[in-house]
């Protein structure tokens, strides 16, 4: 019964090992060395892209003005990056591990917390940074913003501002692939909070019913905004919900990029082979606050300390050093390369013009000004 669970159960449920995952799934061959280094590079790209943009976002909140009864999620930015920006820092292993198992033409639908999903799928930093600054050179010409990163050629079907809405979109892309007879696979990224949305239920069920080539990647970072999963999930593991749709559900260590890669490869291959969908629950953690580019206060500082010990980048770098794949010096070099790339992206964005109203990509016949 639900009331028997406590925070400990949730933390224990979250403290799975990569072994569990590989146990649960046919082990995939480890990626070749080049890919291992590229995976680290992608993780660093995500991390530094977001660390740098944080400095460009001047957080302001009205929260103190109201109180718990009347407060809403109010904040703004007076920086050159505005609006609501949700950071992926701490979860990099998930997007990178999953993307390493995907083909360039596979599809991805993402959430409000989508920078990492986009970068891992290959999105260029310049246009992304430009989008966050609302520039004409942004990947959506400035019309999307942080929550709406699209790229047709990379199969990025967008972040989404509506929690759970991206899940049906992904089964639609999978439906399309199966209909067209292509071997493309679709991935839906969403949080544990989104697994309580009706769209999760409807989409997972239809995907199983029609054996669509889709992988559902639930990033359980233990929080939905400032709400702890333990008070909004009646069961400790979202993966258990797969059974209700006749779909396999697996728990994966979301801090271990190779464990994620192993689980994702098995699920993606299964989907590509016509075996139908899989639900992967990646246990992970958000190192910053929910929104406001990480500038709000964190939900639980003590808990954070524990999780910082499982920083996915530190863990992966150590493994690569232990396995003799890279030296500390090489890793520092890679970090510097990435930092330089991010600075370039910032410069590119800052030097880009803002779009004008007439440049907005609206369809002519929707009587814009009527």
């Amino acid at each position: 019964m639900s009331h028997q669970f406590g925070r400990r159960d949730f933390l224990r449920a979250a403290a799975v090992t990569g072994a569990a995952a590989s146990l649960a799934l046919a082990a995939a061959p480890p990626p070749p060395v080049r890919n291992l280094v590229e995976m680290l590079r992608l993780m660093r790209k995500i991390r530094h892209f977001e660390e740098v943009l944080t400095g460009l976002y001047k957080y302001e909140s009205f929260l103190s003005q109201g109180d718990i009864v009347g407060d809403m999620y109010d904040f703004a930015s007076k920086g050159i990056i505005a609006g609501a920006v949700h950071l992926y820092i701490g979860q990099e292993a998930v997007a990178v591990g999953v993307s390493a198992a995907l083909n360039p033409d596979d599809f991805v639908t993402s959430s409000h917390r989508g920078h990492g999903h986009a970068i891992a799928k290959g999105a260029a930093l310049g246009p992304m940074m430009a989008e966050l600054m609302g520039r004409k050179t942004g990947c959506s010409k400035g019309c999307g913003g942080s929550m709406h990163i699209f790229s047709k050629e990379l199969g990025l079907l967008g972040g989404n501002g509506i929690v759970g809405a991206q899940i049906p979109l992904a089964i639609g892309a999978a439906f399309s692939a199966k209909y067209r007879g292509s071997d493309q696979v679709a991935v839906a990224y969403f949080g544990e909070g989104a697994s309580n949305q009706g769209t999760f239920h409807e989409a997972l069920h239809m995907a199983a019913l029609w054996e669509l080539p889709v992988v559902f990647v639930c990033e359980n970072n233990l929080y939905a905004a400032s709400t702890a999963a333990e008070i909004t999930l009646a069961i400790p593991n979202v993966a258990e919900r797969g059974a209700g749709y006749g779909m396999p559900g697996h728990i994966v260590d979301g801090q271990d990029v190779l464990a994620v890669y192993a689980a994702a490869s098995a699920a993606v291959e299964r989907a590509r082979a016509g075996g139908g969908p899989t639900l992967l629950e990646c246990k992970t953690y958000r190192f910053t606050s929910h929104a406001g580019a990480g500038r709000g206060q964190h939900n639980n500082p003590e808990e954070l300390k524990v999780w910082l010990n499982r920083d996915p980048i530190a863990l992966f770098e150590k493994k690569l050093r232990d396995d003799g794949v890279m030296t500390a010096a090489e890793q520092e070099g890679l970090k510097q390369q990435v930092l330089a790339e991010v600075e370039e992206a910032v410069a590119f964005a800052k030097n880009s013009p803002f779009p004008t109203f007439d440049e907005m990509p609206v369809t002519p016949d929707t009587d814009l000004l009527a």
Partner: protein, 320 residues
């Protein structure tokens, strides 16, 4: 000309477009004769029609994702009232993705939904919600009033590169056979039609409102010369044709099934007044249903819905 019923005309348009374009398919509840589980996908694929679980937000979202990736879905919402459970994929996803993707991604999707009252089905099966969609930028809204337009507008809707809401009124399903061209017959979106010429008053009918307006015009023939204009599509709205008519008649009445309050009638009046205030000799009016949930009892439903006799009365009111 060969005659078809309203639903036959829609079927023909869909069949012809399916032949013409492999990416066109239909999806929704309780459509298609599939009965057995084995080979589910192949059974659906054969008829290009997917019979779904009762999961509107799921399969409408699925349709959006399919439209984003190369297909042209026709998504059926069995009754217009049911969009209450799936407005998000329609107005936040289908309608906004084109802009939010910087124009990179198109969503060629048709949402087809029977609507309207008059069938004694009560509060949950009588809705006409076109004004929700008219107020949701990024959507086109189509409401054919006869088999001829039903076929031609369905073809345009399917071929359009953006999301189109295609609202078919249930009463029109039963209107009987009417002339309808065979083969290629396309009615462009954004062109109104004068369904009956007249000189004294312009009556803009929306969907079944056209039928009622024509009946009223017939009743008044000889006394009042009524011009009946059918916008056919509410987005884009062919306001010029309406203005041209008002220029001639100096009087305007809009007739629709939806509640008066916040209905498309108000929007049409805004557009006309904005550009043609000087053309109006008297105050324009909207005749819509009473601002209430639709009651089941036949006499109550009749009292809440505009009847042809109400149109006659409203025409006299406007002319004063």
């Amino acid at each position: 000309m060969r005659e078809l019923t309203y639903t036959q005309a829609i079927s023909e348009a869909i069949r012809e477009e399916m032949k013409r374009d492999d990416t066109v398919f239909q999806i929704g509840e309780d459509i298609g004769p599939v009965r057995k589980r084995p080979e589910l996908w192949n059974q659906f694929m054969k008829i290009r029609t997917w019979q779904t679980p009762i999961s509107e937000s799921g399969f409408t979202g699925l349709s959006v994702g399919a439209a984003m990736t190369g297909l042209r879905p026709i998504t059926v919402i069995m009754y217009c009232d049911f969009v209450g459970v799936c407005m998000d994929p329609i107005v936040n996803q289908a309608a906004k993705i084109h802009l939010m993707s910087g124009g990179e991604i198109k969503v060629p999707l048709v949402i087809r939904t029977p609507a309207g009252a008059g069938t004694r089905e009560g509060g949950h099966h009588s809705g006409s919600l076109e004004s929700w969609f008219v107020h949701s930028p990024g959507l086109k809204v189509v409401m054919p009033s006869d088999p001829c337009d039903a076929k031609g507008l369905m073809k345009s809707a399917i071929r359009d590169d953006g999301p189109v809401i295609y609202i078919q009124h249930r009463i029109l399903h039963g209107m009987g056979k009417r002339p309808c061209p065979e083969g290629e017959w396309v009615v462009p979106l954004g062109k109104a039609a004068v369904k009956r010429p007249g000189t004294d008053i312009t009556v803009v009918g929306v969907s079944v409102g056209v039928m009622k307006a024509l009946e009223a015009a017939e009743k008044l023939a000889g006394q009042i010369s009524v011009e009946v204009v059918d916008p056919r599509t509410l987005v884009p709205l062919d306001v010029d044709t309406i203005l041209a008519s008002v220029k001639k008649t100096g009087h305007l009445l809009v007739v629709h099934d939806a509640p008066r309050r916040g209905g498309v009638g108000a929007e049409i009046i805004r557009r006309v007044v904005e550009k043609g205030f000087g053309l109006l000799k008297k105050a324009p009016k909207v005749l819509g249903s009473v601002n209430t949930a639709m009651p089941y009892s036949p006499p109550l439903e009749d009292a809440c819905l505009p009847q042809t006799s109400d149109v006659v009365k409203a025409i006299r009111d406007v002319l004063g």
